[in-house]
């Protein structure tokens, strides 16, 4: 740093646009300017430093550049400058993960079994039951694979349209590595050799009433089997127990959800009674079981066009997951302690 050419920050700019004296005071702090550094416009300086600079400059320092600097420093302290082709931002995922780790280890005390069944490399399709009103189960499966599997793989969840198209949630999910569920997207991820997670029950699963809990809904139209057949990815059935109790849906007032573009509007013991507090999920005890992978490469990609085979395989996977769930439920003594 010391050997680098030292130029006042305001150097080149002051020539172009003369500025007031007090503003110069801030700018005169010498700072090394990396040559050709335009390509790395990143946030080497944290938002706090930028804020300090803004305050130090006083009222005169409150110019556009200072605000813009603070703005982008704040942004890049949470976001990286590069994302993958689906918008997955590793820095953002890293920053936000502690929240989900807290839920995983403390709140729901998730017990994961059979994680070794998840392929350590190459494509794989995790197929799980969906429940709990909000897609926490997907996030917990992600954490389970990332923390308990030796390969520490990043599982890419295919998100329902109702979440992937919602403002605020949509960019959040894609920054976390989730992708809108569609055949094209799934095929692209799997052919890139990624580990992909799907919930074939879709909306029917996540918005189940409490009295229908742990009864798997129809598995769509077998789209996930076609996906696996086309790409030759093995299917890993996955059963999540505990997620049905986090937001027990007593009744549904779907007409209330319509104006918000939601396919359902749940009424739980706490929501909407307690308002936003009702969104706090109940601290049930969770378990996530991974079954042995079902290899599908022997059928070949053309088998995806065989609806009978697709349906048979789909039912097979559904049966496996239902059996795993029933086994867990039989052994479970308490919703809260397992």
């Amino acid at each position: 740093m010391s050997s680098a050419k030292v130029v006042p920050i305001g150097g080149p700019r002051r020539r172009a646009r003369p500025s007031g004296g007090s503003r110069r005071r801030v700018r005169d702090v010498p700072e090394s300017v990396g040559a050709q550094s335009r390509e790395t416009v990143g946030a080497a300086e944290g938002p706090l430093v930028a804020l300090a600079r803004l305050i130090q400059g006083g009222a005169a320092g409150l110019d556009w550049e200072a605000v813009a600097r603070l703005w982008s420093a704040a942004y890049f302290s949470w976001h990286s400058e590069e994302t993958d082709e689906f918008g997955f931002d590793r820095k953002f995922a890293e920053r936000i993960r502690p929240i989900f780790e807290f839920l995983y280890t403390v709140w729901w005390r998730v017990e994961a079994a059979g994680v070794e069944n998840v392929p350590a490399s190459g494509p794989g399709l995790l197929v799980a039951n969906h429940s709990g009103v909000l897609p926490y189960d997907g996030l917990m499966i992600k954490i389970a694979v990332r923390h308990e599997h030796p390969a520490r793989r990043e599982c890419r969840m295919l998100a329902l349209d109702m979440f992937a198209l919602l403002p605020f949630l949509a960019p959040l999910l894609s920054r976390m590595g989730e992708v809108r569920a569609s055949q094209e997207n799934g095929e692209r991820l799997l052919s890139n050799g990624e580990l992909v997670g799907v919930f074939p029950e879709g909306v029917k699963g996540i918005g189940k009433r409490y009295k229908e809990r742990y009864k798997l809904a129809r598995f769509g139209r077998g789209g996930f089997v076609r996906l696996a057949l086309r790409t030759g990815a093995p299917i890993v059935p996955c059963a999540v127990v505990g997620s049905e109790e986090i937001h027990p849906v007593l009744a549904k007032a779907d007409w209330l959800g319509k104006p918000f573009g939601l396919p359902y509007f749940p009424i739980t013991p706490t929501f909407p009674l307690l308002g936003p507090l009702g969104l706090v999920p109940a601290p049930s005890k969770w378990s996530i079981d991974f079954a042995e992978p079902i290899p599908l490469d022997r059928y070949g990609p053309d088998a995806a066009e065989d609806p009978i085979l697709v349906n048979r395989l789909s039912e097979e996977v559904r049966g496996t997951i239902q059996r795993m769930i029933d086994g867990r439920l039989a052994r479970r003594r308490s919703i809260w302690f397992g």
């Binding site: 390509e39 416009v41 080497a44 703005w71 994302t83 082709e85 992937a164 198209l165 403002p167 809108r180």
Partner: protein, 328 residues
Amino acid sequence: MSRIAVTGTASFLGARVLRRLVELRGGEAIVAVDVAPPPSTLQGVTHRRLDLTEPASDQRLVEIFQQEGVDTVLHMALFTSPQRDKTHAHELESIGSLSVFAAAAAAGVKHLLLRSFTAVYGARGQNPNFLTEDRALQPNLALGWARDKLEAEQHAAAFAKRYPEMAVTVLRTAPLFGPGVHTFYTALFDRRLVPVLMGYDPLVQLLHPDDAVVAFERALDKRPRGAFNVVPRTAIPLLTALHLSGKVTLPVLHPIAYALADGLWALGLGEGPGAFLDYARYLFVADGQRAKRELGFEARYGSREALDAYLRYRHPEGGALEPVEARA
């Protein structure tokens, strides 16, 4: 003698492609068809003055193509930015394209190349993350800009079917970004405060003009049939692009933003009608695999590099970005 007729040589990309073609094939091989003459530095280029919105432009085009011995037509007379005069834009883009295609078919042209835009797919929430060429074109039909391009594409597809001996290529370019590009969307990057849609941050593709020129070069060499996406190597989230450019972003609720943009546009202000906000709201990222396979075209620049090139071009001395740069 095989000569290439290029329409819309006064447009930014038209002028760039024209220059490249003169370098590669010599000025004698090129006929520039435009209301404005090409730069006088391009020696040997024949200029035929023609307004595509004139009623009998198709007959004049047939004459031009036959007299000049044209066997390839490169049609680039399309607006990148929305026009206040919607009727004129429609006459030029939809009807003008029809005239060009009809004249090309009548004059026995062997290869017809249309410049189009990935925006013609339309930005929709239901779009897959990567749009392939066989995806139906579903732009927002309230947007005259996109509707005229859609019609030009539909005319091209109809002629491809009716005249199988004529190879018809459509190149759908991602939004251009780089040195020399001045459009309604780059104007946003010249402001200090940029309004954004609250809660939306789609990936966008910014194509460096150098890459676009190469794609046209390849397409003229290979004469492939059908549509091809011409896209940069990588995409970039819109907010990341804005923050990398050192902009202050102002999140606006989208119903308000649409109404405001429409209102400003109606008042003669603003960069474009509100329907353009779809492109800042939803994905319209296109997949470049087909161009790679069949044209041998792969972009050298990613969206990030195109953005950097644009910022260097706009702020050669550092300028607005200089304090941010100093941090690196």
